[in-house]
């Protein structure tokens, strides 16, 4: 378990996680570390509230899995964390989401700056139609990095972190579309890592991939959680059990009411001894 003791304790104590991030003097040095706190978070598309009352803590340098049946708002909740919902229009986010104590929905926050701290990997690999090098260089260049040697170093590091370097180090000029699906997805991970984010959001990153590529992505995630906080949406129960430290189970019980967070807790406990019967039914495959 990589979670800091304080955070872990907080997650265990509260029924739905913790409203305020817990800070101690000992942890002041790690102040900027990419932990989210969600308080009474709701999401509405126009007049329809689709998610309500989500309270949870996303601990730093650990993997948090969001699970639940299709249409329960997992991806929508994930996109609240880097404000990608802002791009859809007609979406309102209520409650408070803080990143290391900073309210990410306050007026003074530019979503563009937030997204450099909170990267995202999408469901389908979506490399840009350009070379591998230019794909990974996009983020750093956006941040103003121009020097060739500096870029080279960032790109090598990002590709190594995404476990793609050995396969592509002699082909950086290759067009990204020439890679296989699994390689493309690891390229997208490298591209997201190149901006040096504190958090990486992953929206079913392996659902479009074959089992071997999925395995490679999971191995990559296991390595990455030493560097960044990871929040992953997955449909795959075994995957959630294998790779995550904390699991949050979301459910929309009928179309008349918004989705809510049923239970959040340490993955091992959620999968062996969940508090809620609905969690147990879902995990054991009785619905969803």
């Amino acid at each position: 378990m990589v979670m800091s003791a304080v955070v872990e304790e907080a997650v265990m104590d509260a029924p739905y996680g913790v409203a305020e991030p817990v800070r101690t003097i000992e942890h002041a040095a790690e102040e900027i570390n990419g932990s989210f706190s969600l308080t009474d978070v709701s999401v509405a598309y126009g007049a329809e509230t689709v998610i309500a009352g989500v309270n949870m803590l996303v601990p730093t340098r650990a993997v948090t899995a969001l699970i639940g049946p299709s249409g329960c708002g997992k991806s929508t909740l994930l996109r609240c964390l880097n404000r990608m919902n802002d791009e859809i229009g007609n979406v309102r986010v209520g409650g408070t989401i803080t990143l290391d104590g900073l309210d990410i929905y306050q007026k003074s926050i530019d979503p563009v700056d937030l997204r450099m701290r909170v990267g995202q990997v999408f469901q389908r690999p979506n490399p840009f139609p350009m070379s591998l090098y230019d794909n990974v260089a996009f983020g750093p260049r956006t941040q103003g990095v121009r020097k060739r040697d500096e870029l080279d170093a960032i790109i090598e590091e990002a590709l190594k972190d995404a476990a793609l370097w050995d396969e592509v180090k002699n082909h950086l000029k290759k067009h990204a579309f020439e890679l296989s699906g699994g390689q493309q997805q690891r390229l997208c991970i490298a591209r997201a890592l190149a901006t040096k984010p504190e958090v990486l959001l992953m929206d079913e990153p392996a659902s479009a991939l074959d089992p071997i590529s999925t395995q490679q992505i999971e191995d990559t995630i296991a390595e990455l959680k030493n560097m960044v906080t990871i929040v992953i949406v997955t449909h795959n129960m075994q995957q959630a059990a294998r790779i995550s430290d904390q699991t949050a189970f979301m459910l929309r019980e009928s179309m008349d009411q918004p989705a809510h967070l049923v239970e959040v807790g340490e993955t091992k406990r959620m999968f062996t001894n969940p508090d809620d019967r609905r969690t147990e039914s879902y995990i054991t495959g009785r619905f969803g």
């Binding site: 880097n82 990608m84 389908r124 956006t142 901006t195």
Partner: protein, 289 residues
């Protein structure tokens, strides 16, 4: 014979008949195109020579070459491109990437579609009234280029918008998620990907402009000029109008001069269009979504 077999036979007959009818229509279209192009090539090619292309008209335009006319057309189309491409591509980008989905946007889009259907002589009269007279630019290459800009705008805007729409939205999402602004996502990722479509649409729009007679007839094209245009405020000679002049206004023009002019116009427009189509198909093959 059972009902089912009879019905099956009828269906087969209709099938064969419709295949024949639709095929015959295609054949008719192809024959027409071949006939027109064939006539232009057969009648025009004998008139083509280096002299014809690089000499001035002589003997009241009945002999000599069409150099000033070619130059006038190229200058006019270039000036039109300089005006219409920035305006049209920017407008297309706004409509595809920024415009909110509301009634106003729909009205704007509908108006642009309607602009494409306005007859070119109406653009000509508009250009005469607004650019030549009201803005006092006078009959000139600039007035004609502005008029052709109005005529070509809907084509450029629409093809830009269409080309941008064909780019999957998930790469825009990826760029935004990396902390890019909308403009950076468009400029660095979406626009380069859409460039083949935009360039092709623009070239097709401009080649239509190159062949238009009515709008330039009333805004600045000259019957005959002894010299090349020396500024955008000069009048100029142009291929489509020159063709009209040779065919209807000057008696006893040798047919190879008239058809030769037609050949130069058609060949010029075709070469550019084919280059655009070829370039696009190469680009398409390079990037598969």
């Amino acid at each position: 014979m059972s009902t089912r077999t009879r019905r099956a036979n009828t269906a087969r007959t209709i099938e064969a008949f419709m295949k024949l009818v639709t095929g015959a229509c295609v054949a008719l279209v192809v024959l027409t195109a071949v006939f027109i192009l064939g006539k232009i090539v057969v009648s025009g090619l004998p008139g083509i020579s280096l002299d014809f292309i690089f000499a001035k008209p002589a003997m009241g335009m009945r002999a000599g070459g069409i150099f000033p006319i070619i130059v006038g057309t190229l200058m006019l189309v270039t000036l039109t491109a300089l005006l219409v491409l920035p305006l049209g591509i920017m407008a297309g980008i706004y409509l595809a990437e920024y415009a909110p989905k509301n009634l106003l946007t729909r009205i704007v889009r509908l108006s642009i579609a309607n602009m494409a259907g306005v007859p070119s002589i109406v653009y000509g009269l508009f250009g005469l009234a607004v650019f030549v007279l009201l803005m006092q630019i006078g009959k000139s290459m600039l007035a004609s280029a502005l008029t052709l800009t109005c005529l070509t705008l809907p084509v450029v805007i629409t093809s830009t918008e269409e080309a941008l729409r064909q780019i999957p939205s998930d790469i825009r999402q990826a760029a935004l998620a990396l902390g890019a602004t909308r403009w950076r996502a468009i400029y660095k990722v979406v626009l380069p990907a859409a460039a083949p479509g935009i360039v092709t649409g623009s070239i097709l729009g401009l080649s239509r402009a190159a062949g238009e007679t009515a709008p330039i007839l009333v805004t600045g094209a000259a019957f005959f000029l002894p010299t090349l245009p020396d500024s955008v405020f000069s009048q100029y000679m142009s291929l489509p109008y020159h063709l009209y002049v040779l065919a209807t206004q000057v008696p006893n023009v040798p047919p190879e001069v008239t058809w030769g002019t037609a050949f130069v116009l058609v060949a010029g427009v075709s070469i550019v269009s084919m280059f655009a189509a070829g370039w696009r198909s190469v680009q398409r093959r390079k990037v598969k979504w």
